[in-house]
C-alpha cells in the first residue's frame, strides 16, 4: 500500500468510532456484497458442492437404474421413518484389491519421474531465457508458450507418429544402421514419460524463468571473484535461489500428471497403470459410478489435498 492519499483506504480499518461506522456501512453496501457473492456462489455451487456429491455417491451402492447408484436415505412411508444407509464397501474394496493401490503408487512414480525429467529439460531453457537480451527473451519465451496454445491432444498425437514401430524415430535409426530391429517405444511407460515431459514443459519453464530472472547476477560475479568454480557456483548459488521456481514448477507438473488420462491412454501400454485412467475406465467402461467416486475421493484426500495445502502456504503462487 502506498502513501495514504485518501482517508478511506480499502482493506484497512479506521481507528476512530465514526470512521469505523462509516467503514462498516460502506463495506456492507449491496454493491460490495453482490460483487463478492457472485463469484463465490458460482464456485460454491460448481466447484465445492460437486465434491460433496462425489463423497456422497462414493458411499452408495451401484444399481441398475438411472442414476446408477442407490439413494443414501431410505424413506419408509408406513413408518414415516428415514434410514441412512452408508455403504463403505467401495472403500474396503479399494484397499483390499491391490490393483487400486498399485495404480495410485504407479501414478505417483510415473508423475515423479516425469517431473524430474521435465525439470532437467526445462532448467537450461529457463536459464538461457533469463540471461538473454530483452528482445531475444520475448522471442524465446513466445517459443516456449506457443506450443502451449496449440491443442494438447494434437501434440500428444504428434508423438504417436514419432514413437510408433514404423514411426520417424525408428525409420531414422534404422536408416543410419544404429539399430537393426525397430524399437518398441509406443505403448510403453517410456512413451508416457516423454508425453508428460513434452506437454508440461512450459509449466516448468515459466516459473523457473520467473525465479531465475529475479536473481541478482552480481552474486555469481562475486562468487567467481572469490574463486568459485562454475559447478560450485551453480549448486551453491543459482540452484538455491531458483528453489521457489523449482517448487512451483514441480507442483504444476506433478499434480496434473498424477491424474493424467489422455497421455497414458494414447501413448501408454495396456500395463501402464495410472489412477486417472482407472477412474475413467471405472466410470465409462464398468459404469460403476460409486466406485469411480471412491477412487476420486481417495485421490483427492491422499494426493491433491496435501499438495494444495503446501502450495497455499508456500510461495508457489508466484508462478503465475
Amino acid at each position: 500500500m502506498n502513501a495514504p492519499v485518501s482517508l478511506n483506504i480499502p482493506g484497512q480499518k479506521p481507528v476512530s468510532g465514526l470512521g469505523r461506522l462509516i467503514y462498516t456501512l460502506r463495506h456492507l453496501s449491496i454493491g460490495r456484497w453482490t460483487v463478492i457473492s457472485l463469484p463465490s456462489l458460482w464456485l460454491a455451487v460448481f466447484f465445492f458442492v460437486p465434491f460433496l456429491v462425489v463423497f456422497k455417491i462414493s458411499l452408495a451402492e451401484p444399481t441398475i437404474s438411472i442414476p446408477p447408484y442407490s439413494s443414501l436415505l431410505e424413506w419408509d412411508p408406513e413408518e414415516s421413518f428415514a434410514t441412512l444407509k452408508l455403504n463403505l464397501g467401495n472403500y474396503i474394496y479399494l484397499f483390499e484389491d491391490t490393483f487400486y493401490l498399485e495404480a495410485y503408487l504407479s501414478s505417483i512414480r510415473i508423475a515423479a519421474v516425469s517431473t524430474f525429467f521435465t525439470l532437467l529439460v526445462a532448467f537450461p531453457m529457463a536459464y538461457l531465457i533469463a540471461r538473454s537480451k530483452s528482445t531475444t527473451r520475448i522471442l524465446l519465451l513466445s517459443l516456449v508458450i506457443l506450443p502451449f496454445w496449440t491443442s494438447f491432444l494434437l501434440r500428444v498425437y504428434a508423438w504417436m507418429g514419432f514413437l510408433k514401430k514404423n514411426g520417424l524415430i525408428n525409420e531414422f535409426l534404422l536408416s543410419f544402421g544404429i539399430i537393426d530391429q525397430p524399437l518398441t517405444m509406443l505403448q510403453t511407460d517410456f512413451a508416457v514419460y516423454i508425453g508428460i515431459v513434452y506437454t508440461y514443459l512450459p509449466f516448468m519453464v515459466l516459473p523457473l524463468y520467473t525465479a531465475l530472472e529475479k536473481m541478482d547476477i552480481t552474486l555469481l560475479e562475486a562468487a567467481e571473484d572469490l574463486g568459485g568454480r562454475p559447478m560450485q557456483n551453480f549448486f551453491l548459488i543459482t540452484l538455491p535461489l531458483a528453489i521457489p521456481g523449482i517448487i512451483a514448477g514441480c507442483l504444476l507438473v506433478f499434480i496434473p500428471a498424477v491424474g493424467e488420462y489422455v497421455i497414458p491412454a494414447l501413448l501408454g501400454g495396456s500395463d501402464t497403470l495410472m489412477i486417472g485412467k482407472v477412474l475413467w475406465d471405472e466410470f465409462f467402461l464398468n459404469r460403476d459410478w460409486p466406485m469411480a467416486s471412491a477412487v476420486a475421493t481417495v485421490m483427492l484426500i491422499v494426493l491433491v489435498l496435501p499438495i494444495m495445502l503446501i502450495r497455499n502456504t508456500n510461495s508457489g503462487k508466484e508462478a503465475f
Binding site: M1, V5, I9, G11, V35, I36, L38, P39, S40, W42, L43, A44, F46, F47, P50, V53, V54, P67, P124, M125, L128, I138, L139, L143, I145, P147, W149, T150, S151, L153, L154, R155, Y157, A158, M160, G161, F162, G167, L168, Y198, L201, P230, I255, P256, V258, G259, E260, Y261, G276, W289, A292, S293, A296, M299, L300, V304, M308, R311, N312, F320
Partner: protein, 272 residues
Amino acid sequence: MQQRKSLFLNTSATLGFIFLYAPIIALIVYSFNKSKLVTVWGGWSLKWYSALFNNEQIMTAAWLSLKVAFISASVAVVLGTLAGFVLSRMGRFPGKLVLSGWITAPLVMPEVITGLSLLLLFVAMEGAFGWPSGRGIGTIIIAHSTFCLAYVAVIVQSRLSAMDESLEEAAMDLGAKPFSLFFLVTLPLISPAIISGWLLSFTLSLDDLVIASFVSGPGNSTLPMVIFSKVRLGVTPEVNALATIMIGIVALGVVGAIWQMRRQNRMMNRLD
C-alpha cells in the same frame, strides 16, 4: 571455463527447443503428404485439407467447440475478473480465505476429478430440481467457465496487485462512485489482463477433452472428443491438416502479439 559452461548451456537449451518443436514440424510437413500412410512420403498434396473440410463430423464438432469456447471464455472473464478484484481490492471479509482457496484449486485439480464431480452434480441437480435436463452444450459451458474462471482470476489478481492503487484513490478523492470508479478507471487499467485471460480461457476450453467427455450428452461431441476417438482408431491424415491449421492460427496470433508489444515498447521509448 566460462566458455565451456555457456556451450553446455546453449546446447542443452537448444536441444530442449528442438524437442519442443520437432513433433510439431513433422506434423505440419506430413499434413501435405500425398500418401495415406503417415510415415511414407508420397509427394506434396493438399488432399487432406479438402478431406478435412468435407468431413461433416469434424466440422460440426469444430463449430460446437468454437461456440462453447466463446461463451465459456466470456462467462469466465466476467466471473474471474470479479473474483480477482474481490481478492485484491476488497480488503478483508469473512470467508476470504476460503474463496481464495476455491479460486486457485481448479488450477491444479486433476481433470478426471473435476469432470466426474461436475457430472455427478448435474445428475443430482437434475434429480432434485429437474435442471439441467440432460446434458449438452449448457453443461459443457458451465464446466468450462468454472475451470477457466480460476485462470482469469489469477491473471487479473496479479495485474491488480502489481498496479499502483493511487490512480483509484485519486479518482475516489475526486468523488468517483464505486461503480464508475471500476468501469472508468480500474477496468481500462486491467484490460490487458482481461484480454489475455479471455484468450487463455478460449484455448483451454477449445482444448479440453476430459471434462467435456464427462459433462456432454449424446450427440454433443466437441472437437477434441472427435479427434480423440479418431486418433484411437488409427491413421487419420485429416487430423494432421487440422493440427496444421490450428498451429498456423496460433502462430499468427503470437507473432501479432509480439509485434504489438515491440511497437508499444518503441512508443514508450519515444515518449521517454
